[in-house]
């Protein structure tokens, strides 16, 4: 159904926004590099695609006058989620433009800020792109070339936001959140499952995941589950033997 599709897409957009923020935070510091710029570019493109897809879907749903009131309330809630994501993305994109201009990579005396971060951000980018490993194939002057593209993309996003505000009549303050204060402590469920009484899972290891998460998490969960089974089997065998 349209609603579930929307929700999965919004989840994806949410994830990409979060990862983009992590990547932008690393800009200009010692963990900045050619790779980071490329990661930023790829994440951004993915975010754009998702944004456009989400927008078309949601505007189509909201324009439909024949939906019930509850449905409409739900769609408005999703709309607020979407616009908030886009706001964050836009701010991050603008900031990345500024920082990217201030800290070019291909200058002879390069002074990146020594923030203490030295590791790479490949894992974050891989999470954003939903792939296992990132492939880097950009050429050497990505930092300057990319900035021009970034400017145009920011302009596009601006325009898109304006259009959205004009076309869709949604009052964001009228939306009621389904989560209550402290809901982030409760579970790592996605937006698809709105009930609060799910098992509270310790955030250290994502042992179990509920449906709606991406495929990668499922694979990881499966591996850990089998590992736990194996260990349990071995321990049992040892106990029996001793």
């Amino acid at each position: 159904m349209g609603k579930d599709e929307c929700k999965t897409m919004l989840d994806a957009l949410n994830k990409v926004t979060a990862c983009y923020r992590h990547l932008v935070i690393a800009l200009g510091s010692t963990s900045d590099s050619q790779n980071l710029r490329e990661e930023l570019k790829k994440t951004r493109k993915k975010a754009q695609e998702l944004a456009v897809a989400n927008r078309t879907k949601l505007t189509a749903l909201l324009k439909d006058k024949s939906i019930s009131k509850d449905d409409r309330a739900e769609y408005e809630r999703l709309w607020v989620l979407f616009t908030s994501s886009m706001d964050l993305l836009e701010v991050d994109m603008k900031r990345s433009l500024e920082i990217g201009q201030d800290f070019p990579l291909k200058v002879p005396t390069r002074h990146l800020i020594q923030t203490g971060m030295t590791g790479s951000t490949t894992t974050v980018a891989a999470r954003a792109m939903s792939v296992q490993n990132m492939k880097y194939e950009a050429d050497a002057n990505i930092d300057t070339v990319d900035l021009k593209e970034l400017e145009t993309e920011i302009a596009q996003v601006d325009q898109m936001m304006e259009e959205m505000e004009m076309k869709v009549q949604v009052a964001p303050w009228a939306v009621e959140a389904k989560q209550e204060a402290g809901a982030e402590l409760k579970s790592t469920v996605s937006v698809g499952n709105s009930s609060v009484g799910v098992i509270s899972i310790c955030e250290e290891e994502p042992k179990e995941t509920v449906e709606g998460e991406s495929g990668m998490m499922k694979v990881l969960a499966g591996i850990i589950f089998t590992a736990v089974l194996l260990i349990a089997g071995i321990l049992g065998y040892l106990v029996i033997n001793l």
């Binding site: 989840d11 949410n14 994830k15 926004t17 979060a18 990862c19 923020r21 992590h22 935070i25 690393a26 800009l27 200009g28 510091s29 963990s31 809630r77 607020v80 989620l81 616009t83 908030s84 994501s85 706001d87 964050l88 701010v91 900031r95 920082i99 201030d102 005396t109 002074h111 990146l112 800020i113 020594q114 923030t115 203490g116 971060m117 030295t118 590791g119 894992t123 974050v124 999470r127 954003a128 949604v170 964001p172 303050w173 009228a174 939306v175 009621e176 959140a177 389904k178 989560q179 209550e180 204060a181 402290g182 809901a183 982030e184 402590l185 790592t188 996605s190 937006v191 955030e203 994502p206």
Partner: protein
Amino acid sequence: MTIRSDRDHGQHYRPRMSCLKKLEAIVVQMQDPSTGVKGSEQKLNVTTIPHAIAGQDIVAWISKHMNMDNDEAQAFGTMLAAFGYIYPLQDHKKLVLRPDGSLYRFQTPYFWPVQKSKAEDTDYAIYLAKRNIRKKGVLDAHEQEEYNKLHNWMNHKWDFIVMQAKEQYQAGKTRQKADRVVFDCQERAYWIVQRPPPQTHSAMDVLDRHIDPNTEEKKPYDYYRRIIIYTQQAVMRSRVKSTVSLGALVKYMATFMNHDPFLVPCLPSNPWLTDDDSYWELNMADVEVPTKMRVERWSFSFYELLNDPRGRSDFKIFLKKEFSGENLAFWEAAEELKWGTGASMSEKAEHIFKTFLAPGAPRWINIDGRTMGITVKGLEHPHRYVLDGAQTHIFMLMKKDTFYRYLKSPVYKEIQKKAISPVPHSFSDTQLQQNTRNRRLSISPIITWQKEQEEKAKAEAAAGPIDIKKLMASKLDRK
């Protein structure tokens, strides 16, 4: 949807921080591997994190690089910390630079303070939610308060905030352990600067001065007092009927109409139009024979007569004949005091007192006792306008009495006869062009001033303190 515009119509009175760009440049300079600040490592339980710098190193670098002494360098370093460019690793709530071995680290450019956009509440809510996750529900007191407040008024976005917080937390966990620690420290430092906890002094702590439209600001007592004083004074101002004031205006216009070069062409010709400066030559201050228009103008009012230098000298001649030159001399001396230099004031005042005001002075002026008393008293501590009262009195005396005698006197009549009336020019086009080419600079004002000074010196030498006895003697003689 948030109200989006680059122009912040929310009337936030944030101070301008032009220092931010300069601080950024300095921070970048600090990064130079050869000339920058030397970093060391921070050892946590298992991990070591590079790029930790000691407070004393920072202070030493600043004082060397910016040529300051240690106290100033420490203050500067504290400003760097207060703005959030450096954050302390121990005691993270106190944003000061300690010049000892305590460690600091640089903040990543994303978290640098920016003048344009203040830290958004949505971001702060997401941060608090993440912190909630990390600390498993146990937040600091002020953080908990803020969390509840934000939950209250950002309720419609709360789903988004929770989602984002979880996602950002998960994404952060995919990084290496050392980087995770650094990231947490960075974010925490950023929010300590932007939303300082109690008893932390951060440079970004600008109270957004919204004026709550619902509360009426109580006007202080002084505000009303000033309004009362103003209206009282306005009531007391003298009012003139418009018939009277307009009548005066009409009379003025009627008298001076012929003398206005805009309305009646001046004789011989307007130098601005014909480039022929005979008009100015004929009307100079020291000219022998004045023009008829000028002489006519002297008869309009005493003020006109005194203002025109030629007129004044004519009046002086008349007064000499009448042996009552002391009034005008006093008036001129008072003018000199008003417009003269401050250094010469006290000696001028003394001279005036000796010459005009002291009982038995050589050129004693006749003013009423009250004014005399006030003036003499004022002369003890002379200032520019100390002779104003006496000067006005003398002016009125001259105007009411001497002026009309002057207008009827033979001196004036003679000058009227002698005055010339220049023939109006009529130039052809070629002559006009010729005039344009013949334009020259007039006499330099320095030379005119020097001439004036010479004249004055001569006049003073000539005038001298006139002995009253001799004066009376000469009068009696004539009789």
